[in-house]
């Protein structure tokens, strides 16, 4: 029986509407940094004094439950660095990120120990890289790749692992008869789908997708995008979709942030940004859409 909304306490209502991820002032510098680039607003992301590259500069945003957030920007704008920081592939220079489901929902995950960060990665996040080689062990079986994520989250029953991996691979249209084949024998699109099923293995509340359709041909792109939409609809997973392709963003994202030189230059509803871009860079981006 469903509980009428009015009976819910204030607290639980808050919990329902509060974002699952809050990122504030995420900054990532490659290089030492100097007084100049730490204290001035730079025109570009390269410091003229010390040569430090500020890949992400004070990036802040929120992500709601089951929402898809698009991140667009040209090459080198810091989109990938941002998701890699969120997935702990790279260490942030400063800033905080709070996952509502982690601890009391007030803990900065960047301050956690490496061991704890592994835990967050394994239990609460999934990542799909542009290059399947980064996310998959090409010499292991596809089910083994999915198993890795399940084992990380504490599943040690081979039968159950196989059941779950066949279910997941089936969901991404990899035939069960090929579940024990190595991804290196798969096409690019199939490899990408194996990666997606691996990322989904633990039902993570948050999925990070980094340029997942880049390099795939159009029909395969469409299939992968379709899959992502289905997953979002059925499983209510929140996602951050990084892409330089506005078509992908338009199709998937509810809200979008636009990045340039490491900074967020514009954010809002995707339709709004595409119909009525405010920032000159966004305007350029939208108008160069074929």
């Amino acid at each position: 029986m469903s509980v009428p909304n009015t009976l819910l306490t204030k607290e639980s209502q808050d919990k329902d509407t509060s974002p699952i991820l809050q990122v504030s002032n995420l900054t990532k510098r490659f290089g030492e940094g100097c007084d100049y680039c730490k204290n001035h607003e730079l025109e570009t992301n390269l410091c003229s004094e010390c040569g430090t590259v500020t890949a992400c500069s004070n990036v802040s945003f929120e992500l709601d439950k089951g929402e898809i957030l698009g991140v667009v920007g040209e090459s080198g704008s810091g989109k990938s660095t941002m998701v890699k920081c969120l997935y702990f592939d790279q260490q942030v220079t400063s800033g905080s990120a709070i996952l509502t489901d982690f601890k009391d929902g007030e803990t900065n995950i960047f301050d956690q120990s490496a061991q704890m960060q592994r835990y967050i990665r394994n239990y609460m996040m999934g990542m799909v890289y542009q290059n399947p080689h980064l996310g998959l062990k090409m010499d292991y079986s596809s089910s083994g790749n999915v198993a890795e994520k399940l084992i990380s989250a504490g599943h040690y029953h081979v039968g159950k692992i196989r059941e779950r991996s066949s279910e997941l691979l089936n969901q991404v249209e990899i035939p069960v008869s090929r579940m024990d084949e190595q991804p290196k024998r798969f096409s690019g699109g199939m490899q990408q789908r194996v990666q997606i099923s691996k990322a989904l293995a633990n039902n993570p509340p948050l999925l990070l997708l980094d340029e997942i359709t880049t390099g795939l041909d159009l029909s395969v792109q469409a299939k992968v995008l379709d899959l992502i939409r289905n997953i979002q609809r059925e499983m209510q997973v929140a996602m951050i979709v990084v892409s330089h392709d506005l078509g992908v963003i338009r199709m998937l994202a509810d809200r979008t942030i636009v990045m340039k030189e490491g900074k967020v230059v514009e954010q809002g509803l995707t339709d709004q940004i595409l119909q009525d871009p405010q920032h000159s860079y966004t305007q350029l981006l939208v108008h160069s859409l074929l």
């Binding site: 490496a114 061991q115 592994r118 084992i151 040690y156 029953h157 081979v158």
Partner: protein
């Protein structure tokens, strides 16, 4: 042929190594005991045998020996294999202490690839020679990465390796040197002892020390520590079975048996791998050795 000079032991320190080296090794041992299963790096010394031939074990043994100690050295269970004999001789000539082939008499036992049949007591130390101390080397070639994996207790990759074995072969194919979790923290290689011996490490009375001379690592399993071989809930760890075969010399059915083929007839025999225990059994049971000529 040049005449080999006599080896003047009086010119050497007690138990070959200098006291400074021994002290460093003992300190490393203490750290290893304090953190069960953690591989403590140490400065592996030069010895009269080549690295990879038991130098890790030998350095542990030499550092542990005192004048009251009694040493036993075995190689895959045998007291009389070339390597065991050479190591025992070096320890004996350089320290003058007693040596034995009887597990019960020994206070320090150096071994390669076996744990003796007789249960280790709390006043005994077993020193194991280790060729590859890193369990994660099976899945990760870089030392910087394996150190990080241990630090973060990130062991999913070795579990996936076991999973792959099951997918491909229907069982886990690691025989000797079966990776185990010690004290619920570190996964370690128990050195290439058979699976049969792995269970002896769990909640043991004695102290187990592991020395890898070539890889410059020392680690330990202290007494009364949990040692759990990696196993899936539905694919359990299994030890070797001998299908009711018995030792042809002492008739034992409850020991780890070596399989031996007669090269002329092609016949297959079984006999105890632990020769010290076997000869004791023979005298006890007064079984006449039935060795075929």
């Amino acid at each position: 042929m040049p005449v080999q000079n006599n080896f003047e032991m009086s010119e050497y320190n007690f138990a070959f190594l200098d006291e400074g080296s021994k002290r460093e090794i003992r300190r490393t041992i203490l750290k290893g005991i304090a953190i069960p299963g953690y591989q403590v790096p140490f400065a592996s010394r030069e010895l009269p045998i080549a690295r990879g031939w038991g130098t890790g074990g030998l350095q542990l043994t030499l550092s542990l020996l005192g004048r009251q100690d009694c040493l036993k050295v075995i190689d895959q269970g045998h007291d009389d294999s070339v390597n065991a004999v050479s190591i025992r001789k070096l320890a004996k000539t350089s320290s003058g202490i007693e040596t034995t082939t009887d597990t019960v008499e020994a206070s320090v036992i150096q071994t390669r690839h076996r744990i003796p049949e007789e249960k280790l007591r709390d006043d005994q130390i077993l020193v194991l020679q280790v060729p590859e101390p890193e369990p994660m080397r099976r899945v990760e070639a870089r030392e910087t990465q394996t150190e990080r994996l241990h630090a973060e207790k990130e062991y999913s990759s070795i579990w996936v390796r076991l999973y792959e074995d099951i997918v491909r072969w229907g069982e886990i194919t690691i025989g000797a040197d079966y990776p185990c979790m010690v004290h619920h923290r570190y996964i370690f290689n128990p050195s290439p002892i058979p699976r049969y011996d792995v269970e002896k490490l769990h909640q043991a009375d004695g102290l187990y020390l592991f020395g890898a001379g070539r890889e410059k690592k020392i680690y330990a399993v202290p007494p009364y520590t949990d040692v759990e071989p990696l196993q899936f809930e539905d694919y359990l760890f299994e030890v070797e079975e001998f299908n009711e075969e018995s030792c042809r010399l002492c008739g034992s059915t409850s020991t780890f048996l070596d399989e031996i083929y007669d090269s002329s007839t092609g016949d297959k025999y079984y006999q105890c791998s632990d020769t010290g225990y076997c000869s004791k059994q023979q005298t006890e049971r007064k079984v006449k050795a039935n060795v075929r000529t």
